[in-house]
Symmetry: C2
Subunit: 126 residues, 2 copies
């Protein structure tokens, strides 16, 4: 765990004040570069992710740590990750089990703007 | 412009309080599914993006709207976009002119965690 704290320090992250919490943005993609979802992480969520090798996020609505797929089984195994230039966001590449979205779609980004309206489309995720 | 306001209303967005502003998360990818960057948008930035067809964001440090590439020329032409399931994030697919990162790299996510340290790597963006 000491090593993980050192890694997190080396990441030199810029936590933002998001809905009253100190959080960073996590963008999660599969190994085919599909954007699966975005969520927030506090330091604890990042620690748990690095410690266990499975994605953990921080829920702003429930105000607590959650392991992705804990209930659904649709866990995300961490393969590698990148930090952006200003340090407020991390890009995680994962092996997605099942689907990422709680609405049953592969990606949370399944609402496409078409003719001025939102329509469900999974065309992007091939 | 009336039409754009209607589109934005139809998007049913959930603006969050981020560093004291009402913002949503914008994730921007190229047409080969590379994640180029993430930034924030207020309603004005989204309106300008839809009106002009070029990506505009809101800078939390400068506290103002900015057109991506206004100074560098590295503009992002909007091709299509998706909303996520909870409405606090948009995924934009763009045609990137030049590079996306102000540090001169193709993507802002060029810092890879390797052996516990951040190292510059563009392996992901092929």
């Amino acid at each position: 765990m000491e090593n993980i704290e050192k890694i997190i320090k080396n990441l030199n992250l810029k936590f933002r004040n998001i809905d009253g919490e100190k959080l960073i943005i996590a963008i999660t993609c599969d190994e085919n570069k599909n954007v699966l979802m975005t969520a927030f992480m506090n330091e604890e969520a990042l620690k748990e992710t690095l410690k266990t090798g499975y994605m953990h996020y921080y829920s702003t609505s429930r105000k607590k740590l959650w392991k992705k797929g804990e209930e659904s089984g649709n866990v995300q195994k961490l393969k590698e990750f990148y930090r952006d230039c200003d340090g407020d966001a991390l890009l995680f590449i994962v092996e997605q089990k099942g689907v990422a979205c709680h609405e049953g779609y592969y990606s949370c980004f399944h609402y496409k703007l078409k003719d001025g309206k939102l329509t469900i489309s999974e065309d992007y995720y091939k």
